[in-house]
Amino acid sequence: MSENKALTQAAAEQDAQRWVLPAVDVFEDETGITLLADMPGVPKDRLELKVEGDALLIEGSVQPFTPEGLEAVYAEVRIPRYRRSFSLSRELDTARIEANLKDGVLKLRIPKQAHAQPRRIAVSSA
């Protein structure tokens, strides 16, 4: 059994167009939605967040920090890119999204539009 370099190269080029769905946690409370996504290996400058209409797209590519001459022995993670998109409902205020990336965990906070937040309406007795 010997290594076939041509096939490895072809496979590597195909990998560049494939991606993996990052695992996410999504919670909703009264004031908005919190989304946590696991994207290990992605630094801030390789993370892209896009909102187009009502679609939110999260995309990140892993920064390779392998030393010179690294030869893979065993790989469980082979696809260096994460990508996932979500459709957002109208009540969310996409202009005020807050994003935070720490240690490979992306935390997004999407508040609800001010008019959509639950409000108590005081009843006056006239």
């Binding site: 096939l7 409370d29 290990p40 290996g41 630094p43 469980e76």
Partner: protein, 149 residues
């Protein structure tokens, strides 16, 4: 070895390999090692192991950890990586949870290392959610050129 048999192009297995790749694209599953000892996806932090002429590199993809609380131990040729991820879920009754895919809790993985490593020269760093453990290979195993007189 299993993987390379399936990758042979234009053979019967080549067709299955293409189908497998297409299914991977549709379902977006991470590239699983399709060997008999494959670990269930998402249950443990994924590990990549690579080798350079002077060191062995182990990468564990474990985001959201406190670097000071990760335990990396090397004992008799077995590298063990253990830690715990705390839940970031808010605990009040007013929160609806729509999706919970991220693993929470304790994890541990062990990698058995080849004999040519030097356990006195091990470095570990944690960056962007990836733990990188670099173990030097001992001097005597570096290939030496012998000149012919």
């Amino acid at each position: 070895m299993y993987e390379s048999l399936l990758s042979y192009p234009n053979s019967l297995f080549g067709q299955f390999e293409r189908l497998r790749r297409e299914l991977d694209d549709v379902f977006g599953v991470a590239g699983l090692p399709n060997s008999i000892r494959a670990v269930a996806p998402g249950s443990l932090p994924a590990i990549n192991v690579g080798r350079t002429p002077t060191s062995l590199e182990v990468y564990a993809f474990a985001p959201g950890l406190d670097a000071s609380k990760i335990e990396v131990t090397l004992d008799r040729g077995v590298l063990r990586i253990a830690g715990e991820r705390a839940s970031e879920m808010p605990d009040d009754a007013k929160t609806n949870t729509y999706t919970r895919e991220r693993d929470v809790g304790a994890f541990a993985r062990a990698v058995s290392l080849p004999e040519d490593i030097d356990p006195n020269h091990v470095k570990a760093s944690y960056r962007d959610g990836v733990l990188q453990v670099s173990i030097a290979r001992s001097e005597s195993t570096q290939p030496k050129r012998i000149t012919v007189q």
